[in-house]
């Protein structure tokens, strides 16, 4: 595959369509700049600032743009809030749509057939694969990303974090809890248990 990709890149470069130096910078951005730490900052701000949280729920793109992220967030970001009665999970059954600007590149499992096929039919089973077991009365809402809207889950703030700084609560926010396949870390969780 490496040779095949190299062949296509050479042809497109020689044709004048693409600039390999620009490709280098795009790759570097995804390797070093864009990632779930961006989403974690958004979640931590929402946990710390009720006005921001309200703005975020009303218009995710607009609210996130006020935070000055490295990579400007485009339109169509929708933030969905977990509550004591409802848990949200995001999937894209048709391809692998994912909020790259706030979470970085999607993990392989998100793009895999097991996740894409089962999340809409057996979300509790999928959650169990991640070691997450919710109370049986919790309503589960699956968001299938079938258009250009992109969904970010706003998890519930973990108990025992009262008075924590925004930066400190951000350290509890995992990528998976913003997809809905995980929960935030607990404040007393030991490092080796983290994922």
């Amino acid at each position: 595959m490496q040779l095949r990709v190299r062949a296509l890149e050479t042809v497109l470069t020689e044709k004048g369509y693409i600039d390999p130096a620009a490709l280098d910078l795009i790759i570097e951005a995804y390797e070093t700049k864009v990632g779930p730490h961006s989403g974690a900052r958004v979640v931590a701000r929402a946990w710390s600032d009720p006005a921001f949280k309200q703005a975020l729920i009303e218009d995710g793109s607009k609210a996130v743009r006020t935070m000055g992220h490295e990579s400007r967030v485009g339109d169509h970001l929708v933030v969905v809030e977990n509550t004591p009665t409802q848990h949200n999970i995001v999937v894209c059954t048709l391809c692998s749509c994912y909020p790259w600007e706030v979470l970085g590149l999607p993990p392989v499992w998100y793009k895999s057939a097991p996740y894409r096929s089962r999340a809409v039919k057996d979300p509790r089973g999928v959650l169990a694969d991640f070691g997450v077991n919710l109370p049986k009365e919790t309503q589960i809402r699956v968001w299938d990303s079938t258009a250009e809207t992109r969904f970010l889950v706003l998890p519930m703030r973990p108990a025992g974090t009262e008075g924590w700084s925004e930066e400190r609560v951000a350290s509890l926010v995992t990528r998976d809890c913003m997809i809905g396949t995980g929960l935030p870390k607990k404040p007393d969780q030991k490092p080796e248990e983290l994922r």
Binding site: R6, E9, A22, L23, D75, D144, T149
Partner: protein
Amino acid sequence: MDGVHDMGGMDGFGKVAPEPDEPPFHAAWEGRVLAMQRAMAYAGAWQIDVSRSAQERLPPQVYLTASYYQRWELAMERNVTERGFADADEIAAGHALRAGKPLQRKLTADLVQQGMTRGSFFRQAQAPARFKPGDRVRTRKIHPPTHTRLPRYARGRLGIVERQHGCHAFPDAVATDKGDSPQWLYTVVFEGRELWGADADPTIKVSIDAFEPYLEPA
């Protein structure tokens, strides 16, 4: 099209297997593929639904066994050749044998910052929205042989319009080179039992984002 890409609700693919400490890319070529796709999209060579459509048209056995970035590469080769940006003999040779086609613009290193921002899919409405939040709707039972974003598991189903997202470019038209054909977009939510039958977990609801042509009043 009713392809294997439309996986929602299929059985037999097994457990979800998260990879601990997963790197952004598993091989250097994956990054090249991603970045090439970005650069060609920025240049206006094709729109995102044209890429999706090319992946969906891969033979099913290829789609299911190729990795994510392998699919991107195969779909890109297909779009490059089908749309006349290069010929198969050039890709086989690994060199351009003829001059390129003019493109709208080129993503050069100094422009990468703006090339990283997703475009907007909002478009000027052509007609008032037919539905509003709270409306009961039924998704149409359609089986177009071309690209659509109405998944099979959600066709012919009764749901409730929950949100309206404005008017967007319509993937079904874009992928078949019929222009943006702007359509209103809605989040439509279904009870798990409506989708999966009486034995389904009653605590589950699933939503899709549905373009207006996918819906009729119910």
